[in-house]
Amino acid sequence: MKRFAKAAVWTIVALAGAGALAAIAWERREPLNATWFVIAAACIYLLAYRFYSAFIAARVLALDNTRATPAERLDDGRDFVPTNKWVLLGHHFAAIAGPGPLVGPTLAAQWGYLPGTLWLIVGAVLGGCVQDFVILFCSIRRDGKSLGQMAREEVSRRGGLIAQIAVLAIMVILLAVVGLVVVNALKSSPWATFTLAMTIPVGLLMGVYLRFWRPGRVLEASAIGVALIVFVVVAGQWVAASPSWARVFTLSGTALAFAIIFYGFAASALPVWLLLAPRDYLSAFIKVGAILALAGGILVVRPEIQMPAFTRFVDGTGPVFAGKIFPFCFITIACGAVSGFHALISSGTTPRMITHEVHARLVGYGAMLMESFVGVMAMVAACALTPGVFFAINSPAGIVGETAAAAATTISQWGYPVDAPTMHRLAQMVGEQTLLNRTGGAPSLAVGMAQIFSNTIGGPRLLSIWYHFAIMFEALFILTVLDAGTRVGRFMVQDLAGHLWKPLARRSSYPSILLCSALIVGAWGYFLYQGVVDPLGGINTLWPLFGIANQLLAAVALVVATTILLKMGRLRWIWVTLAPTAWLVSATMTASYQKIFDPNPRIGVLAYANVLASQLAAGKIPAAQIPETVRLIFNQRLDAVVTAVLALMILILLAEAFWQWYGILARRTVPVLHESPYVATQWAEGD
């Protein structure tokens, strides 16, 4: 009877999921309600977790509940700490949840709601969750070794080096692109700039509290911090209303870029307890709170989706950035469906805290499902805006024109009606001077979130407060990624520089800290500046580059996972990791090729450089703009080189892996697994 009831429940879940998905895919007559998105995503996630992850756990990985994990064998109370699975799920989710799943789907909404939503769900279930789960398992079996170490031991020495370089490359591009998102969110906005600037003194106060007054009392300090942040969000409107103060906090894109570069340098070089850690605590609470609030808001308000299933930009002429659905939609969504970066967390802290191998299913597969759900909610928030407003916010001036009237005319001609007074009124309602040309995803997501929040609590009166709360939340945790990333990047540069001159490898030596911080900040700062001054908006070039780097890292992780499965004798189930690898490699390679060689100057960077060079040669560029144009040409060629190097690295790694696989399949080499030896657990078995 119990079995029958279970089967009935799962059948209902399956039918509900299929029905909701069919509604999303085929409904064309009237605005679709966001509830369908929530039902479709939730039901498919439940089914995938119940059946697909169980299949991977039992058949593909054969998780062994009797085997002691590193947390049990090496328990040292610091790095290796046995941790309850629900607590670890919270830790892991807080670590993997970043700005990517919010920004990526918002940008991908330019193709319509359908391609992005489908990839968010399918990509996560078959790709991203599998990657996180399998890499977590591999690392647990190897005493918590990192992805780079596993690549070196299981694939080849060169594979390890490629993983290391890929991590550094993705870090540089990631930090530049998220910095650009913040710049575009704060540009000419005294309210948002003031709020974000005030998070620094709030962070410093929390740092001193946690270091000297009440060491380690994270919840107390965070409660104080959150209260102060809510106050500064509200206080921002008074600053924006005062002409003299508003002038102080109204910054241009270039000024903001330099401020962020300086902040990144300071956060990397200063003691971690002073600024980085307290802001990280603050950001984690606000992040989880805002995500829960967004989920609750969508369920309460049940907004109508205004965006069509497909827009005219499926032809590759998108204003946010150019390119067709394949490969660019997959590159754009990146983190919400598959994120290579997660492999670093799955092979970092998490495997050292897991008490039973079977918990890897909940933590690895489950946390990524939650992340994908965040992506679906971001998609809903972006698509709840009318398409005209969405494109007005996200299109760069170089495409739609500088003035509100020009932008409104261009966008209306595309078939998405919007007029200048509407945009002006909306900007006034959210307390901004303008919402035009704010490429990057953060402002349009904030408008979408603010509409959902204000329909839940406060009505139109609170729209501006909610908008600035959303901007603060996005910018705060983007800056957390930026400072934590810069610091780790600095360590990586110190390790690499140590090969050249040993003293540089000393992590606590101040000359080395300053030099290596300057190197890493200089690297991402350069790309950030390049993005800020790019007339096409910067996002057009940098976001695809970031997506390519991220998906490349995911491909590295999946190649390592496939090699390990092959060595474990799981040839029959090899498609579980091989299929997403093949998809990611084809999407990444196609995107890289198009980004470098496409004849359309909006897609191919070399074509763009050539157009500029021929204009320069023909004397069509005014004398004042010549140095800027020369720099722009150089930047495009640099982007081509970076993309080519990334693509080349994955090709080398694949060749190395194919050679390994051939050796194993042809029985020319005996597969050697570098697993830690089996030790029986002394603990009661986990569930």
């Binding site: 090496l74 328990d75 040292d76 109370g77 610091r78 790095d79 700490v81 941790t83 309850n84 629900w86 607590v87 919270g90 830790h91 807080a94 670590a95 993997i96 949840a97 970043g98 700005p99 990517g100 990192s146 991590v167 990631l174 998220v178 946690l210 270091r211 060491p215 380690g216 009392r217 994270v218 919840l219 965070s222 971690v272 307890w273 980085l276 850690a277 990280d280 605590y281 984690a284 609470f285 990146a334 983190c335 994120s339 970066f341 997660h342 670093l344 967390i345 970092g348 802290t349 957390t480 990624v481 934590a484 990333g485 610091r487 780790v488 360590f491 992590r507 970031f546 991220n550």
Partner: protein, 73 residues
């Protein structure tokens, strides 16, 4: 009947509070102390180093946490 419902609520609140303290890092020092006590008596993993104070442990934990990738995109 009402009392049972209240007990359920109280238990849920206690569990949520416990989860929040564990996940946020608020309870990290207590976990460390429990681990140290366990190692003293039962384990060969104990390094023999003196037990850290709350402040020392906090700084040590931060140093370790931010030495590797701790936040994602």
């Amino acid at each position: 009947m009402r009392r049972t419902a209240w007990m359920h609520v109280r238990s849920a609140l206690t569990k949520t509070w416990w989860w929040l303290r564990q996940t946020s890092g608020d309870a990290a020092y207590e976990i460390y102390l429990r681990g140290e006590a366990r190692h003293h008596f039962h384990s060969s993993n104990w390094s023999g180093s003196p037990v850290l104070s709350r402040k020392e442990f906090y700084l040590d934990a931060l140093r370790r946490k931010y030495s590797r990738v701790s936040r994602c995109c």
